[in-house]
């Protein structure tokens, strides 16, 4: 069976990546499940037109690699097992290369840690004892070292214990929890149906998170001899994609920061992002996945950080491993107003009952905000606070809070990262930068003009964005073509005649981002297809270089023409893979954030 690749771009990518890793059969099963949704084994056999045994074999490996989730449903007669596609496994395949290089980077090229992660990526779920046994006879020191690596990875949440709930589709799990919670709420005449559902939803949300975040008992064991904590070697572990996505988010936010604020400040910001990164909120809000409406999910502006997400400059300064000297310059800090007299001050009562003074320029002294402590009222310029890292870091953090994009927010004397709000800015900046680098900067100008003024006419665009009318017209139509702008028709006459109507433009970010997402996704699929094609074209050569006798002795066994072909193939593959990863880093912004 085959699926049209144009019907669903994600199907195109996922089936491509699964095919390249697990072969044609697995790809067929995955495509079928993406296309039809949840299927029982019987249906799966029927739709894939494969033998039942083969389907079962394929399902086992796909489940092991987190590509498929399983759900049992019992009705009055029998129990049916349903299989549905799970993105995590396919995403791990897509990201595998980057995950390994990221792990290498953060654990300072420790080969054991990298090897562990590599094995978990290729094998799915494993227990520590299985892993150690597979390496053959090892001395106690090596085992100890490996156990320490595991401990580190589990503590950093890159590896998480496998729970039963891991294999369930989230939507089914939610429905079941919700159903149970609903039945628990007593059905009385005093309680309206609406209230009953709302109450049940609140209860279900708590239970749902408890199920998903539950940690198995005895995950950590204390070594009796040394009283050192180690991971229970009989509990299955798996690689945590959510944790890796947090790292991706941190990298992208730091890159955004370097373009919006400055390189040195972005380095400080990256350290702030890394501070307690493992406990930061998930990249994908689970509540979005289970189809709760917006009111039921805390909106970006109402985001409240957890206690451990708060930090101060002193928490960051200990991680700073680069020089911050000469990174902050004092300039003119107070605006001089020629008309304002120096002694033009008046006392006003502050909220806390104290008195402060307001000077002619509106600056308030005596407030409890520490902002003015560091005011330098000199008129010259000079570098400050060389060799005083804490103060400099604090200055950088304050620059981040003052930025037009809220990289940091201040709560009392601590800072926190307002993730939900930042993600909106990240997406917006990226789509703007894609527009200006592909369609040209005048298009980006129009986009921002329309976004800033909400609903505008073509004439308004040309007069405020100072563009020629004919240019503005052609550029807006280009933007409309790519779903970046929407047209709204405003009828002028009672008969709503189209000829008399006025057409206004507005931005619908959701539609625009979706278009970008689908287009990028399609390109990713296309590249995966090209890589597969390249391998098929060179199948003979690949089989030859994979032969045991040829491996490592290519120069001896390959003909000069074959060597040229091999080099060309490798170059093309490298280029395509680079393109693929660049596209993934764009795609993930619109897909997850």
């Amino acid at each position: 069976m085959s699926f049209s690749k144009t019907q669903n771009t994600e199907l195109y990518v996922y089936s491509g990546i699964v095919e390249s890793y697990l072969g044609k059969r697995a790809s067929t099963v995955v495509s079928c499940l993406i296309d039809y949704g949840r299927l029982s084994l019987k249906d799966l056999v029927k739709r894939t037109k494969m033998q039942g045994v083969l389907v079962k074999k394929t399902l086992v490996s796909l489940i092991q690699l987190n590509c498929i989730s399983v759900w049992e449903e019992t009705n009055f007669r029998s129990t049916t097992t349903f299989y549905s596609f799970r993105e995590d496994g396919a995403l791990l395949m897509l990201y595998s290369g980057e995950i390994i290089s990221h792990i290498e980077e953060i654990y300072n090229n420790d080969p054991s840690t990298t090897q562990i992660v590599q094995n978990f990526l290729s094998l799915g779920n494993l227990t520590i004892s299985d892993y150690i046994a597979s390496l053959g006879a090892l001395d106690a020191e090596t085992i100890d070292k490996l156990e320490r690596c595991f401990m580190q990875l589990v503590r950093d949440k890159f590896l998480v214990p496998v729970q039963k709930s891991h294999f369930y589709p989230v939507k089914d799990l939610w429905m079941k929890t919700m159903k149970a919670a609903y039945l628990q709420v007593p059905n009385g005449a005093a309680l309206s149906e609406l209230k009953r559902t709302a109450e049940a939803k609140e209860k279900a949300k708590l239970q749902f998170f408890n199920i998903l975040n539950a940690e198995p008992e005895a995950l950590y064991l204390k070594d009796k001899a040394t009283s050192i904590l180690k991971i229970n070697s009989n509990i299955s572990l798996t690689f945590n994609l959510k944790r890796y996505m947090k790292s991706r988010r941190s990298i992208q936010l730091a890159q955004l920061c370097s373009h919006r604020v400055g390189k040195v400040t972005s380095k400080v910001f990256y350290k702030a992002l890394l501070h307690d990164e493992k406990n930061s909120p998930d990249v994908v809000n689970l509540l979005h996945q289970i189809g709760l409406t917006n009111e039921e999910i805390v909106l970006g502006s109402h985001y409240e950080p957890l206690q451990n997400n708060l930090f101060a400059a002193k928490d960051i300064v200990k991680n700073i491993d680069f020089s911050l000297d000469n990174s902050i310059v004092t300039g003119v800090t107070k605006r001089t107003q020629p008309t304002a007299k120096l002694n033009n001050t008046k006392r006003i009562k502050l909220e806390n009952g104290d008195y402060g003074t307001v000077t002619g320029n509106g600056d308030m002294d005596g407030d409890d905000d520490s902002d003015d402590e560091d005011d330098f009222d000199d008129m010259g310029e000079g570098f400050v606070q060389n060799g005083a890292p804490l103060a400099t870091v604090d200055q950088h953090l304050r620059i981040l809070t003052n930025s037009s994009i809220p990289f940091l927010k201040k709560e009392n004397s601590s800072y926190y990262i307002p993730y939900p709000e930042l993600m909106i800015h990240l997406k917006r900046s990226l789509s703007d930068s894609i527009i200006s680098s592909t369609l040209g900067s005048p298009c980006a100008r129009i986009m921002r003009c329309v976004r800033g003024n909400r609903l505008v006419s073509e004439k308004f665009i040309s007069s405020t964005a100072l563009l020629r009318e004919k240019d503005a017209r052609s550029l807006t139509s280009t933007l409309v073509k790519y779903n970046m702008l929407q047209i709204q028709e405003v009828p002028k006459t009672a008969d709503r005649a189209a000829s008399k109507s006025v057409f206004l433009f507005r931005v619908n970010e959701k539609h625009g981002n979706n278009t970008l997402k689908t287009n990028i996704c399609w390109n990713m699929g296309k590249i995966l297809e090209k890589i597969a094609l390249l391998k098929a074209e060179n199948a003979q050569l690949i089989s030859k270089i994979n032969r045991d006798d040829v491996k490592g002795k290519e120069l001896e066994y390959l003909l000069p023409s074959e060597l040229t072909q091999l080099k060309k193939m490798n170059d093309t593959e490298l280029m395509l893979t680079t393109k693929l990863h660049r596209l993934i880093s764009l795609w993930e912004v619109f897909k997850f954030y």
Partner: protein
Amino acid sequence: MDEAQKLHEAMLKEPENTFFSEPELRHIAGVESAADLMVIVQVLLNKSLVKLAKQNGELRFQAVDPQEAAKRSNMSADEAMIYSHIEASGREGIWTKTIKARTNLHQHIVLRSLKSLESQRYIKVVKSVKFPTRKIYMLYHLTPSIEVTGGPWFTDGELDSEFVDSLLTIIWRFVTGKTFPKVFQTEMSLSNNPLYAPSYKNYCTVVEILEFISKSQVTSEELIENDIRSLCEVLVYDDKFEKVSLDCYRSTMQSVVDLKEERMENDFSIFDSASFMASEEASEDVVYFDEYQL
């Protein structure tokens, strides 16, 4: 006759375009009855030296310059009528179709009259920015209003984008110099460019930018604060400026990055357009963003 001349001279002594009521004129002319005044005014009217107008339901009189009157006396009745409509439109100008509708004259006559008036340099055609296809007439000596010309950004009814762009660049450089320290020093790399302390407040206001533009004499156009404000807005739309507070702007880091075309990261960054792979047109593997849509 002398009385009429005296009255006319007395009326001209008053500020231009003054409207006189009947009692005022009687006072100036020194006559008692309205009938006597009307005889004198009729003489002036015959020579087109006085114009009549109605204000709040009362008849008012306005003196006309003798040169202007001479102009009018040379015109035919149709031409005079059209001329008066054009004169009434002031600096806004009037469209030929409106003239035709208001005067109820045949198109041929209107066109002929307009041609004759134009050849005598009494009126001129102006291009309107709002309605580029319309032929708009106004008095020869008047300067078209901002609505008609489109303001300082328009030259001959066309947006002068080169002028706008050069002003945008000048303003951006001025503001950027005040937003980032030592930003235009060539040896300064973006990777270690210092920033002003968060308490720094010396960002540019519209007034300061206007002052800078006027001092540097980059343009002969008379610019006002509003013009600078609209330029700053365009720079905000270009992501080169961000608003700090009302009428106060600072440059964005991105604009400096774009200018220097320097890579901010060693690795690939989705925001670093300088790190994008250059596409080779001939290559088969070029990825087109909109391939799916097409």
